[in-house]
């Protein structure tokens, strides 16, 4: 058998529930083990254990929340549906939130989906590209006429996370070393995660800041951010809308999320 064919057969046998008899027939009988299936299991079973371990490292609170057995079953389903194509196992687990949102029964479990989104977002913040935060003082040099065209560049670690209150409560309990609360229903929550210096931070967003941040992250200028906020709160006086936009912006600067600010044309 050619090398390429043998490798395909070997890989298929690792991924399958049971190894191919054809592959086993190409292996030499082991020295001490009862059968070649027993020693091939080091690769076959090891694959499942390793995938579950990668995911457990990336999603420790999710594992704690649903228990080892359910977590391992989820890991098996994920690694079977989306086997790794990555040289670095770090990126294998990054696709878990998408998989859970799209796959019953996980898709119907807000705690599972929320925790996965939260832990994946924080992991992204951990090792995203480095960039220097811009001090808010740079805004002092911006001409007033340029403010509507002002666009912001964000630190590569900035991530919006769609989670929910029970997922956040579970995560924070785990971080505090406390028992996880009983799973329950709770409102959806938008969070932002980012890295400052080497530490990852997160906080919840209200509807106004979420809308403003989404627009700013998409490259929208400050004028469009103000217009969006005004559209969302038509009864609010224009000065208050502008003040709200300014407060959001000041907080992003204070948090170290912004790395560039330039008045650019459309």
């Amino acid at each position: 058998m050619k090398l390429a064919d043998l490798q395909r057969l070997f890989q298929d046998s690792v991924l399958a529930e049971t190894p191919s008899p054809l592959l086993l027939a190409h292996l030499r009988p082991p020295t001490r083990a009862a059968s070649v299936a027993e020693t091939f299991a080091v690769y076959h079973d090891g694959f499942r254990l390793r995938m579950a371990e990668f995911l457990a490292n990336d999603y420790p609170v999710l594992r704690e929340a649903i228990g080892d057995l359910a977590f391992d079953a989820m890991a098996e389903a994920f690694s079977r549906a989306r086997p790794s194509t990555f040289r670095n196992a770090r990126w294998f687990g990054a696709g878990l939130p998408d998989f859970l949102r799209a796959t019953p029964p996980y898709s119907g479990d807000p705690l599972v989906c929320g925790l996965a989104a939260l832990e994946a977002g924080l992991a992204h913040g951990f090792d995203a590209e480095d960039a220097d935060a811009l001090p808010i003082e740079v805004l002092g040099a911006i001409d007033a006429a340029d403010w509507p065209r002002l666009r912001f560049g964000f630190h590569p670690s900035v991530t919006l996370i769609e989670a929910n209150a029970p997922a956040l409560a579970a995560y924070e309990a785990a971080q505090a070393g406390e028992p996880l609360p009983e799973p329950g229903l709770g409102p959806a929550l938008s969070l932002v995660a980012w890295r400052r210096d080497l530490d990852v931070h997160y906080r919840a967003l209200d509807a106004s800041e979420e809308m403003a941040l989404l627009e700013a992250l998409a490259g929208g200028p400050f004028g469009d951010i103000c217009s969006l906020l005004a559209f969302a709160s038509p009864d609010q006086p224009a000065e208050e809308t502008a003040m709200a936009a300014g407060q959001h912006l000041a907080r992003w600067f204070a948090d170290g999320m912004i790395v560039s600010a330039e008045a650019k044309p459309e």
Binding site: S84, R87, N88, D127
Partner: protein
């Protein structure tokens, strides 16, 4: 490439440890009696943040060596030049004394099983690995060292021993070898060959580094788990290697069930003592 100053340099004395995040506090707190650290290359092939910041801090105080697990040398998939470019960038950042990976493959058809899968020991596989090792070295602009893996199955099609395969691979590709003494011990047990005979077939002048680790004993077979202290049989083989191969940089790999750092330092001290005893005996 001919045998060069680099090869001589990579054989310089020294005893190292695998750099693992659980030991960062001790490593950053005070100078440690460790001559160099070996990193898992892929763990630092990330865009930024704490992993690279810690790497730079520790690199400022210690020489480093880079050890990869995803080169997939023996795979029949095309070489992954995105991976090799990232590896080359990391090499430029770390300036390691040695870059190594394994005689193994990790997947085909674009998948990665994140395991070091065994290559059949055939002429076809040898030709394939030689050609790829040459291309990898040409791309990286430096020699790499290839490690003997622990294996749990062997193929009916095998045409040579693993030691002969590695010796021929190193000769034809003009690459270096990383001799994992624990892997020799594990594979010798699993396949019923003589570990010292295996070691005697390895070209000494090509060996640029030695790995030592613990393993799990499953009764009918042993598994290279790196989660136990080094056992007496492996220490004995290490002494044999030091006596017959001479001074080669050596290190202990620990990847799970991490003991206190002081215990790992005790193992490293034991390694130094055995090596020095071996050299006295050889003299």
């Amino acid at each position: 490439m001919a045998a060069s100053d680099n090869q001589q340099k990579s054989r310089a004395q020294g005893f190292g440890l695998g750099l693992r995040t659980v030991y960062y506090p001790e490593i950053l707190e005070a100078p440690q009696p460790v001559d160099w650290f070996e990193i898992i290359s892929e763990n630092f092939m990330v865009p930024g943040g704490r992993p690279l910041a810690m790497l730079d801090r520790i690199r400022a105080d210690y020489p480093m060596r880079m050890h990869g697990v995803s080169l997939s040398l023996a795979s029949t998939d095309p070489l992954d030049f995105d991976y090799l470019r990232a590896l080359k960038r990391l090499i430029a950042r770390v300036e390691p004394e040695l870059v190594s990976d394994h005689l193994a493959w990790t997947g085909v058809r674009g998948l990665n099983l994140h395991d070091l899968l065994p290559a059949p020991l055939t002429q076809e596989a040898l030709d394939h690995c030689v050609e790829r090792a040459r291309r990898v070295q040409d791309f990286l602009g430096r020699r790499i060292a290839l490690e003997n893996p622990s294996t749990y199955v062997s193929f009916g099609a095998d045409e040579m021993s693993e030691a002969d395969f590695l010796a021929e691979l190193a000769r034809r590709a003009d690459c270096l070898l990383l001799l994992d003494v624990n892997n020799v011990f594990v594979s010798a047990f699993n396949h019923g060959f003589d570990a010292k005979d295996y070691l005697d077939r390895i070209p000494k002048e090509r060996v640029a580094q030695i790995h030592i680790a613990g393993h799990s004993d499953m009764g009918t077979h042993k598994i290279d788990t790196h989660d136990h202290p080094v056992c007496g049989d492996v220490w004995e083989l290490f002494s044999y290697v030091r006596q017959s191969f001479g001074p080669i940089p050596a290190m202990i790999e620990r990847d799970d069930r991490f003991p206190p750092f002081s215990e790992l330092l005790d193992e490293l001290r034991h390694m130094r003592e055995l090596a020095e005893a071996g050299e006295r005996a050889a003299a």
